[in-house]
């Protein structure tokens, strides 16, 4: 390094040193430690004891582990397409030129700001089988025996998906920003060629916003696999473990049963699953995401 380079290096390190310190303590150390714990028996009370691959082996035969993995996949598999269709259509609605748009935009965005606890309490009340708003509405619509949502093994997960759709505001705003970048000239040209609404959507809008779709899908995967608070507050994982999502089971294992090593092994499996899915999406996106101007 020349003298000049050295000076810049020291400056750079100095400016970023708070982060480098914090990063080491609160990210690098935990990641390494978690990896080590995953091969240990660790109950906090006693120091960790090395047990090799036993945690991973036990996980393979743990029915609740598989159940929680299935529950989480169920949530993600339904949430991603539903969330995509709902948020993109709402964003398209919000991208039209009508009066009072600022107000409409606010209404769709605000639910995503509501603290998860308050939102969960509110939705528990809406889903209440006896007095809930939703079932009262369904009965009025002529559905005589609506399900007791959060108490019903088959409907508890769909209930949580419905609630999550309500909180899509940030995704909607991101799509909206993407839609506003679609060149008007392209749409006008297509209009001249006599393209219909669907042609324009499929051949212009979607390809033009594909980077945004890619971003949102990745975020949905990362977020979806970590779903926790709603289930913890609304159902505690029930009924019959039908809403024991992966992160919830992990939390219960670590902080209720104090099986920290076992939980660390679970955490690493989660990490690998998210990583694989993200890479898969990236692979697909290489062929279908269109970056304009770049």
């Amino acid at each position: 390094m020349t003298k000049e380079e050295k000076r810049e290096f020291i400056k750079g390190i100095l400016f970023t040193s708070p982060w480098l310190i914090g990063f080491s303590i609160f990210v690098i150390y935990p990641v390494v430690a978690s990896f080590c714990y995953s091969f240990c028996y660790y109950s906090v009370i006693q120091p960790p004891r090395f047990i090799g691959l036993l945690n991973y082996k036990d996980l393979l035969t743990d029915p609740i582990f598989w159940k929680s993995l299935w529950n989480t996949f169920y949530f993600v598999i339904f949430m991603i397409p539903l969330g995509f269709v709902a948020s993109l259509s709402l964003a398209m609605l919000l991208n039209t030129k009508v009066r009072g748009m600022a107000f409409y935009r606010m209404i769709f965005f605000v639910p995503s700001l509501v603290p998860m606890v308050a939102g969960s309490i509110l939705w528990m009340w809406i889903f209440n089988g006896e007095y809930g708003l939703l079932n009262n509405f369904l009965i009025k619509m002529g559905i005589p025996n609506p399900p007791n949502w959060l108490m019903d093994v088959n409907f508890a997960k769909p209930a949580i998906i419905i609630m999550s759709l309500w909180g899509l505001g940030q995704t909607i705003v991101i799509y909206l920003a993407g839609l506003q970048d679609v060149p008007v000239a392209l749409i006008e040209a297509a209009d001249l060629d006599g393209a219909n609404w669907f042609d324009k959507l499929w051949n212009i809008t979607i390809p033009m916003i594909s980077p945004v779709i890619y971003f949102n899908v990745i975020m949905a995967i990362i977020g979806g696999f970590q779903i926790f608070s709603q289930a913890y507050i609304m159902t505690g994982g029930g009924p019959q473990r039908s809403t024991t999502f992966y992160a919830l089971y992990l939390y219960q294992t670590a902080f209720e049963d104090l099986r920290m090593g076992y939980a660390s092994a679970m955490a690493w499996i989660l990490f690998v699953v998210i990583l694989i899915l993200t890479m898969l999406v990236q692979r697909i996106s290489k062929e279908s995401v269109y970056y304009h101007g770049g």
Binding site: G12, P30, L113, I121, E130, A177, I233, A247, T278
Partner: protein
Amino acid sequence: MPQGKGIKFITYLALTACSVVFALPFAWVMVTSLKPVEQTMTMPPTWIPKTYYIESAGKKLEVKKGIVTHEAGAILTVKEGPREGERLFVPNSQLKDGKALLQVQIADKVVQGYYPVDIEKEVQPGWIQVIEKLPAQYEKTEPYWTFVPPEKIIEKVKFWLRNYLDVFVKIPFLNYAKNTLIVCILGVIGTTFTSALVAYGFARIRWKGRDFIFMLTLSSMMIPFAVLMVPLYGVFKAFGWIGTLQPLWFPYVFGTAFNIFLLKQFFMTIPRDLTDAARVDGCNEFEIFWRIILPLSKPALTVVALFHFLYAWNDFMGPLIFLTNKDTYTLSLGLQVFQSQHGGTEWHLLMAASAMVILPILVMFFFAQKTFIQGVALTGLKE
């Protein structure tokens, strides 16, 4: 658009219909938070909180509604037997010659028998039971009740603002709010300043290893919290911080990957000429950061501050794991504990408390709307 009015009308219709669905839950929180408890569990649900009164001895008595009778009967007092002195409603089918068919407990057995009674008032089918509402301090006293024909009940719209005060009595709301504010404010100040400093180091200084470390920073956002939380618990335990507020703000004082990324993107858009001129004038690197970059970055810094405030205000999992002491609970955790203890019984208070947790965020959003939306768009698109 060539189709013109038809399309516009459909757009409005769709927008309005969807907005109603999105806004309804909020309306429901507000309505429920203003109801007396017995009206939170009516079927069908009612949208307007009401209070009921009856005229009694020339005075208006505030009451709540109880059961509705389907057969004629009487309000009476038992004259003798094990249940002597009790005031009851008994349907006519269980009344005979001034005696009422009652269930009584004799030794270990419940048996039925006729006991003499004093009739106080005849009740017709369709009459509604009304029960006097007692202030909270008289909760142990038996409230006065009677049956009246429906038309005798006077109905008035009344918003039960008292629920909001009761929340402060039932849960240490102020203490939770104070804790939450400490976590929010310390976190916001820390993360905004440090993230800016670090972002400057990544954006405006060329040094060896910079790009690698920045990539590391970015990829750390992919790590699920689940991987970090067990060792973090160990770290904070070693510091003696479990049960205190420190774990909820201290780590953010070192900057956060996401905010560093955001600010770095922003700093890179500031023209180099500006800083070069200052450098010629003899400013050192920190002075350039402090005097030129920071003042020019107010919008981006505001976004970062708002986002962190929002995050800390809404955070649930952090407090759940690290707070073990009721005195240090934050609002989300306090609300959750209150709900798990009283869920299903005190919906009116639960909703009032929820409304108070949501409200500051809404007020903030109202004043910082543009910044919020810009921020979301900015962060979402620059990836």
